[in-house]
């Protein structure tokens, strides 16, 4: 059973410790600094927080003493020559002729380190980081140095190798609203899934592009969005431009992947070769951001549904968690312990986690709830936390 919960919040990193059956928060770390993701490396216990400084740029912060002290990790940077094709927001003065005439290029800079993933037990020191504007980075020395994965950065779906020259193909990746705070409209990698059976087998998910897979350790990448649908698009089944909000997999059955998408909940039982929509609108299961998968049973997952992309808040003022144990054919809603009136919480993509029978989620209204019976009943760990961006068991 996990004994630690890490929250990434608008105002720092909150760590809960479990002692004598109770979860207690420590004084906040990184006080006043937005933390978009925080997690513990299960291999060596290192704690990581991704700082989203308003003024000073994104930084990783690392603690090797359980959170007693933290050090800046400043080495995650785009290499010289890394460029991307600028996505132009369709503002009122947008000239539709301009961007099609000639692509505009920009030197890549890290706007946001959106999430971290840890390599397998057989790869000590291997870490992954997903960023806005859409670069995947890997480290083999515990984060001391990082390298951009160039095959994905140079993928034909992004215009090809822009290190070498101008675009040789069309850029099919779109921006994420999460990038607008940085004055750009560029994509972001928010999900990285390393197959426990094969560390060369990795899925990443991109807002807004889709799910992408490598089976050769990152030397080549292929779209894995078949079956996902873009309801708002002229071509709902296009290969690119999908908006998976978060993708995760069952650790014990890694071919079972789950996805909370802008356009519904999706499930794959064949390693993302095919997805199928498993939304059940009448159960309220459709729109949302996070999804958590059971570690043993690939058919079991949890979501925290929200009211439509237009509203983005609890449905009918009632907060609930939905669980399926049959691959999304049916969903059971659990409300015990959760507010059923005047709740406007939204739980963001990294805001829900599961460890064994224990689940935890945090909302942007600063409420944190914990369940120790697989989501069937909940109790509140606090109502006055800063807006919560991520929740991870450690």
């Amino acid at each position: 059973m996990a004994n630690m919960i890490l929250l990434g919040t608008r105002k720092g990193t909150v760590i809960f410790d479990r002692a004598n059956g109770a979860w207690r928060p420590r004084p906040i770390a990184h006080a006043g600094i937005p933390v978009c993701y925080a997690a513990r490396d299960p291999r060596d216990g290192t704690l990581w927080s991704s700082l989203d400084h308003g003024h000073w740029g994104p930084k990783l912060s690392r603690s090797r003493d359980g959170g007693a002290s933290w050090d800046d990790v400043l080495s995650l940077k785009y290499p010289q020559g890394a460029r991307y094709i600028v996505k132009v927001l369709p503002t009122p003065d947008f000239d539709p002729a301009a961007p099609t005439g000639k692509p505009e290029y920009a030197p890549a800079t890290v706007y946001k380190i959106w999430n971290l993933a840890f390599g397998s037990a057989g790869q000590p020191g291997r870490l992954y980081a997903g960023t806005i504007p859409g670069g995947l980075f890997a480290s083999d020395d515990g984060g001391d140095s990082w390298e951009l994965n160039r095959p994905l950065w140079n993928h034909e779906s992004r215009g090809g190798d822009l290190f070498a020259g101008d675009a040789t193909s069309e850029n099919r990746w779109m921006g994420t609203p999460a990038s607008i705070d940085y004055g750009v409209f560029e994509p972001g990698i928010h999900s990285i899934i390393v197959d426990p059976r094969d560390p060369d087998h990795i899925h990443v998910a991109v807002s807004t592009a889709g799910v992408i897979e490598t089976t050769d350790g990152g030397r080549s990448w292929h779209s894995r969005s078949r079956g996902m649908t873009n309801d708002y698009s002229p071509d709902p089944e296009a290969e690119w431009c999908h908006d998976p909000h978060f993708v995760t997999a069952c650790a014990g059955q890694p071919d079972h992947l789950w996805q909370q998408n802008h356009c519904g909940v999706f499930y794959s039982d064949d390693g993302a070769q095919h997805w199928r929509k498993v939304s059940v609108l009448e159960a309220g299961v459709h729109f949302g951001f996070p999804v958590a998968a059971d570690a043993q049973d690939g058919r079991t997952a949890w979501v925290v549904p929200a009211r439509s992309d237009m509203a983005r808040m609890a449905i009918g003022g009632s907060l609930f968690v939905a669980r399926t144990s049959d691959g999304g054919q049916s969903w059971q809603a659990f409300t015990n312990g959760l507010p059923q009136d005047n709740a406007y919480d939204i739980v963001l993509r990294h805001g829900l986690d599961v460890a064994g029978d224990t689940l935890c989620f945090g909302s942007t209204t600063g409420n944190v709830y914990l369940s120790e019976d697989r989501g069937e009943s909940w109790h509140c760990l606090g109502n006055n936390f800063p807006p919560v961006y991520s929740v991870r068991f450690g």
Binding site: G54, H55, W56, G57, K59, D72, K77, T109, V110, Y182
Partner: protein, 95 residues
Amino acid sequence: MSRMPTVTMTRHLYRFFPLLENCTITVPAGSVAEVLREVNAIAPGFTDYVLDEHGALRRHVQLSIDDVVVLDRKTLTDRVPDHGTLYIFQSLSGG
């Protein structure tokens, strides 16, 4: 008598570089980029806070040489003269 340029900064940066607090920072005259590199030599990592990986000023950081705002935010070629002061501000736009 010549005097080396001085660097003055928002106290917010002292949180991350406490050794710069309560000291007068003087560096050789040079371009803004050179002056910032000198500060980085005193406080390693400093330029990662105010510049991006291409050496351009971060979006929500402002500089001025005395009371003249630095407009060249990409290459930072403006010269900080002897007797000059480089001010490092955080923009209100940064949240």
